[in-house]
């Protein structure tokens, strides 16, 4: 189960699990939002390759528009998944 809380300031708070069951809904929400975006991942408990794909597609869209995506507050376990994907050094992760 994933909850996405969209705040006016361009911050999206992700809460729960971003897995294959939730990735389509997450992408549908994120692709409606203009950049720059900040994803607050402090309450993101889990992410799989389906979730990583959502983040990559969002990054590509915003990058092609000259905008940006930043990820904040990743837990060590979630950060590990970005590291396995080789994305921990190339995405803007705080």
């Amino acid at each position: 189960m994933l909850e996405l809380h969209v705040e006016d300031s361009g911050v999206v708070r992700l809460q729960g699990r971003l897995d294959a069951a939730e990735s389509d809904r997450a992408l549908a929400t994120l692709e409606k939002l203009p950049g720059p975006l900040v994803l607050d991942c402090s309450q993101l408990e889990y992410i799989s390759s389906a979730g990583i794909s959502v983040i990559m597609q969002t990054w590509k869209r915003l990058n092609s528009q000259g905008s940006s995506l930043r990820l904040n507050g990743l837990t060590p376990r979630v950060r590990n998944v970005f590291a396995y994907a080789g994305l921990d050094k190339v995405l803007d992760i705080q």
Binding site: R17, D19, A20, A21, Y46, S48, S49, A50, I52, S53, M56, W59, K60, N63, R77, V81, Y84, A85, G86, L87, V90, L91
Partner: protein, 125 residues
């Protein structure tokens, strides 16, 4: 993908019964989801997919069995280059890459119309 919730509940039960850590729970969830979605995405395992989790000293074993009309070997999936720039990456392949990262044994066999995938990951006892 509704079955994912059932998989998560199954993993949770196993982790609690075996008194394993949340770090192990995360890794088992990840490997199982990637193997399961790989089967479903490629139209395999349309019937029942049997999942078995077991514990041995220093390791957790995950076995998936599904009726498959022909072999579909996930261990033969092309390797993903995770050093490419994001702009140059194409979707797909990351899930099996995670399985390779987390499991020191990753095997597949197909016998009499049944495909079996076995993975083994190290855990701290």
């Amino acid at each position: 993908m509704e079955s994912l919730a059932a998989l998560v509940a199954f993993v949770r039960e196993f982790i609690e019964a075996e008194k394993l850590s949340e770090d192990v729970a995360f890794d088992v969830d990840l490997v199982l989801e990637e193997l399961f979605t790989n089967l479903v995405r490629h139209g395999r395992g349309q019937g029942e997919i049997e999942v078995e989790l077991s514990r041995a000293p220093g390791e957790v074993r995950i076995r998936l069995r599904a009726a498959e009309p022909s072999p579909f070997d996930p261990t033969a999936a092309p390797r993903v280059n995770v050093n490419l720039a994001i702009e140059d990456r194409r979707p797909g392949g990351l899930g099996i890459h995670f399985v390779r990262e987390l499991c020191h044994i990753f095997r597949y066999e197909w016998t009499d119309g049944v495909g079996t995938t076995l993975v083994v990951m190290g855990v701290t006892d």
